[in-house]
Symmetry: C2
Amino acid sequence: MSVKNAMTIEFLRSAYGGESMAHMRYLIWGEIARKEGFPNIAKLFEAIAYAEWVHARNHFTVLNGNVADNSVMAGGVFGNKVTAENLIGAIIGEDFEVDQMYPVYLETAKFQGEKDAARSFTYALEAEKIHSKLFSKAQAAAKGGIDLELKAVLVCPVCGHTILNEAPDKCPVCGLAKEKYQKF
Amino acid sequence: MSVKNAMTIEFLRSAYGGESMAHMRYLIWGEIARKEGFPNIAKLFEAIAYAEWVHARNHFTVLNGNVADNSVMAGGVFGNKVTAENLIGAIIGEDFEVDQMYPVYLETAKFQGEKDAARSFTYALEAEKIHSKLFSKAQAAAKGGIDLELKAVLVCPVCGHTILNEAPDKCPVCGLAKEKYQKF
Ligand SMILES: [Fe+2]
Ligand SMILES: [Fe+2]
Ligand SMILES: [Fe+2]
Ligand SMILES: [Fe+2]
Ligand SMILES: [Fe+2]
Ligand SMILES: [Fe+2]
């Protein structure tokens, strides 16, 4: 995998920064949800944290240049409140990625002929659309004081595709086989 | 825990961004070390990734304001090479934190009377000094084609203090009891 153009490189680094921060805050918010008595919302946070780790790893892997230190500008949501409020922060972050960040990053990668970056941005964009909906369901439950109903959360380890209860026969985004999904 | 001053808040966010990115790249570089046949260096990367998670969680927890989206500027090391080179990147990142970033962040927190932020920055600074030395030992081994010698890596889950083989009776940085250390 490789990347050549400076603007696509900058966007990959920024996306890596955003995904890394999202991974960490979902783990933190997952711990809070567990303490508040929402084990299924905690599981959703942990599973989606794993999906963000997949996105970060994909972006990092496309950035296969020499080892060097860089300044990175990235979006991060902060705030450490009750679960119903933390979930609003999660939705804000996902929606920004879906509506603004990833469409522009993907358009840039296509415009600059950066196929590996375009694939990495597409994988993330498709997963974030689902994350936003799942967090919205969780928020509706949590604000009424009840936990989300689910048996399991499944995440594709190649693209981060996320689905409740059972994996599809093949990942609809990257084609990975059902049995390779990571189960939470 | 709380924080009031805008400059300390900005530095906590930046430190959270830097720790989050470090956590992720150490997990990625740990996977590479394992594939190259350096299981102990892989273990060191995983343990230190956990210490960076502790630092990120501490900074995030001090930032206990309302849930909101922010732009964050943070330092990140990129590059995805062989282990002997990745370790040079790890040392560059740790040394920047030890020599430049955390001393200034800590001085600012003290100057602004931000006790919780000062504690969080102190915990990180003390751990990064050790991380730099451990990665240097690992780099010396890896560039000669051999793995690091170690039985285990122990990390304090409160402050991220990191030590090889056996935990001290009490954490020298935060005072936590030996049996609470996380073992890798
Ligand atoms: Fe993501
Ligand atoms: Fe997401
Ligand atoms: Fe997939
Ligand atoms: Fe750290
Ligand atoms: Fe460190
Ligand atoms: Fe400690």
